[in-house]
Point group: C2
Chain length 370, copies 2
């Protein structure tokens, strides 16, 4: 079967710019809009695959940069690929390594051919090119893989323009380098906070015929207003009949705003990272569970939440685990935070089917405290 036969995207319902759809992958169907928990090093931190399944997670993201360095994509391939290695049997997505190289690495050298960078683990020197990024992602074997792109800071127009041109050239090289039909390669739109550059990038990337499109370089320091504006600009141009993926986003309000503007796929480390820093995500905002006011609080984190953590444990107990530096705190709060975002996505999808997304979003954003 060809890639386009496998990765079919069907839009089931629309509500304004928003869409509810089904995206077929070799490891199952994604019900969009969908949020992907992040498993940077082939594990969603502190959560087992069994717990992820119980949460109703469908898509999981892993990071090419980290897995290339450790344990090595070759080793993952020898162990049967990433699905088998980490025992996540649902759909997987890998990023290209570009974002990590450009954001995590202090020492790097970019040229038109690729990027040379220093490992954060042992200081050894490495090089990514569009071709090597695809080769690594083919070794990892995720269902959705990403074109290698250059991420620039959001406001430096001259640098952004140069990085965008490079991203375009690299997108074509990634497409040419790809060999596996059972992986869908998504192109990435760049362009910072500049509407004209975003339009240009969306037009160019759309013209290449990718089975899906990603919007990169957002949620990297620009304002929420700028992000929303760029989403509107780009989604005017990206083809309706392919899934749209907003990379590295986000917070509950960003998910709502993204869905409202026609985004189908999201990923973010936020729920698990916040959990490791004692913050619980709820429908009304964040709670710092270290707060002394919770010491004897017999309520769950969120009385309306159906997750294992909220069905089982009190705020008082969770606060105790955090104060006592017990690992179980990270597990239990991660489960809750992931549930909050996954349930929000299910509710957004339902609201699209029922044609009441605007009302749902307005009510949500009204009660949500940043």
């Amino acid at each position: 079967m060809s890639t386009s036969d496998i990765f079919q995207f069907e839009i089931q319902a629309r509500d304004g710019k928003a869409r509810a759809g089904l995206f077929q992958t070799p490891h199952g169907v994604l019900q969009t809009p969908v949020f992907a928990p992040v498993g940077t090093q082939a594990t969603v931190k502190a959560v087992t695959p069994a717990q992820l399944s119980e949460l109703g997670a469908s898509l999981v993201l892993a990071n090419t940069y980290h897995l290339y360095l450790r344990p090595g994509d070759q080793l993952v391939a020898e162990m049967g690929g990433l699905h088998s290695f980490m025992q996540w049997n649902g759909p997987l997505l890998t990023d290209s390594g570009g974002f990590q190289v450009f954001s995590l690495n202090e020492i790097r050298k970019v040229d038109d051919d690729g990027v040379t960078f220093k490992s954060h683990i042992d200081g050894s020197m490495h090089r990514f090119t569009p071709e090597s990024s695809i080769a690594i992602q083919e070794n990892l074997g995720a269902d959705i893989i990403m074109a290698f792109d250059e991420c620039a800071p959001p406001y430096d127009r001259e640098y952004i323009q140069r990085a965008m041109q490079r991203t375009h050239a690299w997108a074509e090289r990634c497409m040419a380098a790809k060999t596996r039909p059972d992986q869908a390669l998504f192109g990435i739109v760049q362009g910072g906070v500049f509407a004209d550059l975003r339009s240009e990038s969306a037009r160019f990337i759309s013209s290449l015929g990718f089975p899906g499109h990603a919007i990169g370089g957002l949620s990297v320091g620009e304002t929420k207003g700028e992000m929303n504006e760029m989403l509107e600009e780009v989604n005017e141009i990206l083809p309706e009949d392919r899934p749209r993926y907003l990379m590295g986003v986000g917070s509950p309000e960003d998910l709502v705003n993204g869905v409202l503007r026609g985004v189908d796929i999201f990923d973010c480390v936020l729920p698990t990272r916040l959990a490791r820093h004692q913050a619980a995500m709820t429908r009304t905002g964040r709670m710092n569970l270290m707060n002394a006011g919770y010491a004897k609080d017999p309520r769950p984190i969120d009385e309306t939440c159906a997750c294992y953590t909220c069905r089982t444990f009190t705020r008082a107990y969770l606060r105790h685990l955090i104060v006592a530096k017990e690992m179980l705190a990270s597990t239990l709060v991660s489960i809750h935070n992931l549930h909050t975002l996954l349930q929000l996505m299910r509710d957004l999808r339902q609201a699209i089917f029922e044609g009441r997304l605007d009302t749902f979003a307005a009510e949500f954003l009204q009660q949500y405290t940043l």
Copy 2:
């Protein structure tokens, strides 16, 4: 109902000195011999209560010293007691705090009335007496609670004798202080590695009429041979019709040797502590999962093991998690190690019923590498 009505101990089968029994508690029946995972700070480290239940754990131990200091026994009582606080709805056991005060605390002052010690958390001064230990354990509300004892190093006869006398006096005071009928208070036998002191202690403690007896001050630096000898000495004297609990033990070979000598209950931090130090426990010995030889090993930790970890993950993946310092490693190896000990206890129990404990134990010890 009186304590003796609630906490009935029925011996179902004997094989040599070993016994298979049922011990009734307000939170369920223990099938003995039984191993109790340790949840020092009201959590078995890195494992959820749901995972513990799935493992078939029945009894869980929590530490009075730690919970008294944090979050405080008063707070636990206000939250409905330890079962409710940590959401372990099976039988719970708390130690008296004695062992921790004597082993963890550098600064302490013992007198005949009690012990003054310094908190390891904030350096504040505290005092335990037999009466306060019982009051704290009544606040915590475990099913089985322990008399406050003085633990001496195993070879200092003079100190051991003095500590034993104090332990005896304190046992009587604990019994007098106890008020809750829904808790079984166990007396503790001390006496170091000296057979005559152990006998004296076992006789005295037995004479007080506790519903169960513990053997303390072992596995604290003496040899395995000395431990086994003391167990034989003490179990000759402790009444047959009450459960016997060997505190802080142990390793697989210690469990086998203890059961052979008539012990019914064990607890130890070993399985979860080893798991956090990348060591897997198996029926044949320990494996250091960091070993480079496991980097591409597609086998589970133990091909004969039925735990979630072994049913799901390779050694290669577990090694990767450990090398990458991922919390999930602690969870998955803890699950495996706990399963190894819990399954060993189930197998020992079955061997007693089938009258083949000697063969089982001999085969086990023959193939087990220390």
